[in-house]
């Protein structure tokens, strides 16, 4: 029931992911960050098999960092996307990674871009994309309301519309979402949308009984 979606706006790209870590009927935690900062100007939003998700995205992240250390220049978003797809493709007929990825990035020369990479190594450069059951709702909302060159306010408004649809219409909808954005100033967390807070605070001690 993992929901990941994203879109490209005017000079930026935004990706959204749900934040619940689920095992069968148990919710381990509802503040799991599934959007990894790949480098200063790239984000990977990943959904899929729990172990694979972290393993694969960390592998990509470290290889992207290695490239930058070796060669003194960062990979472009397109190059990173193709590299990621290549790794999924190579592993596909041996020991596949069950991970779906939306890779968002900003390059100085070409501006913002979004890449849809699914677990069987399809790669598409898209303006909007989504994975999971939530995609039925978020893609429909984006088809209706998306237009090229949206401002950040318009894009976040659309993101909120999508989250509302998912929350109200998906049977086991995740309660919380994280929104991250990447533009010329870099990749960063934009906001959280929480409807259920993780209860980690101990309850207040019971008042002393009257003497």
């Amino acid at each position: 029931m993992e929901c990941v979606f994203g879109l490209v706006g005017n000079g930026f790209a935004v990706v959204v992911a749900d934040t619940s870590a689920v095992h069968s009927i148990l919710v381990h935690k509802s503040n799991e960050d599934k959007i990894m900062v790949l480098d200063s100007h790239k984000l990977i939003a990943a959904s899929g098999e729990a172990g694979d998700r972290v393993q694969f995205t960390e592998y990509i992240q470290k290889n992207v960092a290695l490239y930058q250390f070796r060669n003194g220049i960062p990979l472009t978003t397109a190059a990173a996307a193709n590299f990621t797809r290549g790794e999924l493709a190579t592993a596909l007929r041996k020991s596949p990674y069950f991970v779906n990825i939306l890779l968002a990035g900003y390059d100085k020369e070409t501006g913002p871009s979004l890449y849809y990479i699914d677990y069987i190594a399809s790669l598409h450069k898209v303006e909007k994309g989504a994975f999971g059951y939530g995609s039925y709702f978020s893609l429909s909302m984006m088809d209706r309301y998306f237009h090229s060159g949206m401002s950040v306010e318009e894009a976040i408004d659309l993101v909120d519309k999508c989250i509302l649809e998912i929350r109200s219409r998906l049977v086991v909808a995740p309660p919380n979402f994280v929104i991250k954005i990447v533009d010329k100033d870099g990749a960063r967390e934009y906001a959280w949308r929480e409807s259920v807070k993780d209860t980690t605070d101990a309850p207040a001690p019971a008042p002393a009984p009257p003497a």
Partner: protein, 250 residues
């Protein structure tokens, strides 16, 4: 001379030298000169051909210049058969990069990768080093036009102008005097031909003794690698006054 330390490539001499590597560089000192010059709008490569014969099929085969990828070419000096292996290696490395990243390989990374291969032959395996020096000329979006020189040790450097092969010291010193930072491609061609004419042993320069290639951007922005045809080359030689005009035989 510590001759006992010659036969194995993979060991140092007591003075801290790798004799096999040095001997490889000696071999290159006997090969035809190649000169590369970096200009604002392109890179020029010029080579002296040692095999000159009217029977040579010049339209399809080149002796000194080779295209590695659409955006990188090289000039060679040294043992041709060794060069062919390395050129193939470089071509494979370039394609492997493009296969992984769907982008052309940055020039320095290509040179570095090839030099890593060359270095391997100086450290392990018990095989002799490659007897080739290269001048790589290319363009990429990170650093524009670039010229790199590499030698059998696996060392490489980025250059504004460089020479390899016979008389490369002499060529290098003339280049040092006459090179200007804002040189245009046409001026670079002229300078290259001039330097070659001064350092070549033969008395006259004719188009069948030379190869000239340029790497530049076409008006549409694509990188072009062009080898000069013999006719154009003859005209250039006459234009820049570096050839003896053909003497009329009675």
């Amino acid at each position: 001379m510590s001759r006992r330390y010659d036969s194995r490539t993979t060991i140092f001499s007591p003075e801290g030298r790798l004799y096999q590597v040095e001997y490889a560089m000696e071999a290159i000192g006997n090969a035809g000169t190649a000169i590369g010059i970096l200009s604002k709008d392109g890179v020029v490569l010029v080579g002296e051909k040692k095999v000159t014969s009217k029977l040579l099929q010049t339209s399809t085969s080149t002796e000194k210049m080779y295209k590695i990828d659409d955006h990188v070419a090289c000039a060679v000096a040294g043992i041709m058969s060794d060069a062919n292996i390395l050129i193939n290696t470089a071509r494979v490395q370039a394609q492997r990069y493009t296969y992984a990243y769907q982008e052309p390989m940055p020039v320095e990374q290509l040179v570095q990768s090839l030099c890593d291969t060359k270095q391997g032959y100086t450290q392990f395996g018990g095989l002799r080093p490659f007897g080739v020096s290269f001048l790589f000329a290319g363009w990429d979006k990170n650093f524009g036009f670039q010229l790199y020189m590499s030698d059998p040790s696996g060392n490489y450097g980025g250059w504004k102008a460089a020479a390899i092969g016979a008389n490369n010291q002499a060529a290098q010193s003339i280049l040092k005097q006459d090179y200007k930072d804002d040189i245009t491609r046409e001026e670079a061609v002229q300078l290259a031909l001039k330097v070659l004419s001064k350092t070549m042993d033969s008395t006259s320069l004719t188009s069948d003794k030379l190869e000239l290639a340029e790497v530049f951007l076409s008006p549409s922005g694509k990188v072009k690698y062009q080898v000069c045809s013999p006719e154009t080359l003859t005209k250039l030689l006459v234009k820049h006054g570096v050839t003896q005009p053909a003497t009329d035989t009675a």
